[in-house]
């Protein structure tokens, strides 16, 4: 698992979602990338029933990069507890429906083509929330390197060369707090969750 950076690609007036994806695909292919299938990251959110007291939220995410894993992030007050489990965790959530209920309209996913260029892995995801297009998320993973601190400059160079000046010079806030840690799959999930949260906020849900 290499360091991964997630970047929102700004939407312009004259382009639809699929057009944006196509535009980016052309660019990355021109750089020498090869498409290697599709990817999908989805997120479903469960809320605790009022009887349980303080509201707690469980986000359950799946990443096609780790297809046998289920990632769960529990938000309880200011505390955030991540959990990685295998696929049957979804079954357990079904058992808990009386205590944690799923908010179907907030089901959000990022889906699109996946490319490989050298040691980089690039994913162009169009974000949809309950079938509504929300925006484009570009995920870039530099697989040989596991420490965000040493890979950031290199990745910034790659990102800027690919999607231009949208990319800030500073690393994303989430990575800045973990510059010298070993990068984990959960970190990618947390970044997705952050961006999904932003998309939801703009819609006004949650």
């Amino acid at each position: 698992m290499g360091v991964t950076v997630l970047q929102q690609f700004p939407m312009t007036e004259n382009r639809t979602g699929p057009q944006t994806i196509e535009f980016l695909t052309k660019r990355i292919v021109a750089l020498g990338a090869v498409q290697t299938g599709q990817f999908l990251v989805d997120c479903e959110t469960y809320m605790s029933v009022p009887q349980l007291g303080v509201q707690k939220t469980v986000h359950v995410l799946h990443n096609s990069e780790q297809p046998a894993s289920v990632f769960a992030v529990l938000e309880s007050g200011s505390k955030v507890v991540p959990l990685i489990a295998d696929g049957l965790f979804d079954l357990l959530m079904l058992k808990m429906t009386s205590i944690y209920t799923s908010k179907k309209q907030t089901k959000i996913e990022s889906k699109g083509p996946r490319f490989e260029i050298g040691d980089f892995c690039v994913k162009l995801g169009s974000v949809t929330m309950s079938q509504n297009f929300k925006g484009v998320l570009v995920e870039v993973e530099y697989r040989p390197c596991v420490v965000p601190g040493s890979a950031w400059d290199l990745m910034r160079e790659f990102l800027q060369g690919f999607i231009g000046s949208v990319v800030p010079n500073q690393a994303p806030q989430y990575l800045q707090n973990r510059m010298n840690d070993i990068y984990q799959p959960m970190d990618t999930i947390q970044q997705y969750l952050e961006h999904f949260g932003q998309y939801r906020k703009t819609t006004g849900v949650i």
Binding site: R143, P144, C145, A151, D153
Partner: protein, 292 residues
């Protein structure tokens, strides 16, 4: 072989002519000599025969002189007594003795060929000393060193760089295999032969290490290539410790593999690869394409 053959025939001819001389001497005077001057006739005949013997003798001497002198008697040492062995089971020893002799002969032959080949090898990775004048000096062989010596050298690397951890294992007899972890950047397996580096494989931090599988990341495959180049570059048979030490110093410079831009173009990436080349002298990072 032919000469030997002619010599043998010459000896045969000589023997038959000598035989004729004795034959005529044995039978004495015969009827064919007639009555008159039979003594003179007989003497003439003898004289004739002796000249033939003389001629033949000369032939033999000639043939023998053209032969190579045999290389002295074979010294079979105690194996000579094998022929006198009486016990059944030991009589078979001779066969195996001959076999082992043949093998020794082959080994001798092959080592000669190998020596010839190695003396032509320009890289001189293996230490050969065909020069007779240097024979007197104490040879510093780089691949026949005691494990303790190797261990002590390796432990100095461990102490030398605090962001590099080194562990030794010896899966193949006494030859050390080093597992090096360089920060959180990369890992490497270095196989030694004595004090000589035989093979380097560089893999990513999260990958499994072994001596034969390459990294699945392009960048580390490239680094492995460059490490091989460095290994050959630093090789010096006379000062093996220095060679290893300079290789390790060079290797340690890979710690900034991802974070340092190329000295030449000032960029991180060139065809999706970071600067994988480190200058041997200055240890400065360059892209493969930018290297001086």
């Amino acid at each position: 072989m032919e000469q030997l053959q002619t010599a043998l025939t010459a000896i045969k001819v000589l023997r038959s002519s000598v035989g004729q001389v004795f034959d005529s001497l044995g039978s004495g005077l015969r009827a064919e000599h007639g009555d008159e001057n039979k003594e003179t006739k007989y003497l003439l005949e003898l004289q004739e025969l002796l000249t033939t013997v003389n001629v033949n003798l000369r032939d033999v001497e000639q043939a023998v002189s053209s032969l190579n002198p045999p290389p002295g008697p074979f010294n079979l040492a105690s194996t000579a007594y094998l022929s006198q062995e009486t016990t059944q089971e030991r009589q078979a020893l001779y066969g195996t003795l001959v076999n082992s002799y043949k093998w020794t002969d082959k080994v001798h032959e092959y080592s000669n060929v190998a020596q010839a080949l190695l003396s032509q090898n320009s890289l001189k990775r293996s230490y050969t000393n065909s020069n007779r004048t240097k024979r007197g000096r104490i040879q510093t062989s780089s691949h026949n060193v005691s494990p303790q010596q190797v261990d002590s050298l390796i432990s100095t690397f461990d102490r030398q760089f605090n962001d590099m951890t080194v562990s030794v294992s010896r899966p193949f007899a006494s030859n050390a295999v080093l597992h090096v972890t360089l920060g959180h950047v990369l890992k490497a397996v270095i196989a030694f032969k004595g004090l000589m580096i035989e093979r380097v494989v560089v893999t990513g931090y999260g990958e499994t290490m072994d001596l034969w599988t390459e990294s699945r990341h392009k960048v580390f495959r490239k680094v492995t290539e460059n490490a091989h180049a460095a290994m050959l570059h630093f090789y010096s048979p006379a000062l093996p410790e220095l060679a290893v030490r300079s290789f390790m110093t060079w290797f340690h410079s890979l710690i900034n593999l991802f974070s340092e831009p190329c000295k030449r173009c000032g960029l991180h990436l060139h065809s999706a690869l970071p600067p994988t080349w480190r200058d041997f002298r200055t240890l400065e990072p360059y892209h493969q394409e930018c290297k001086p």
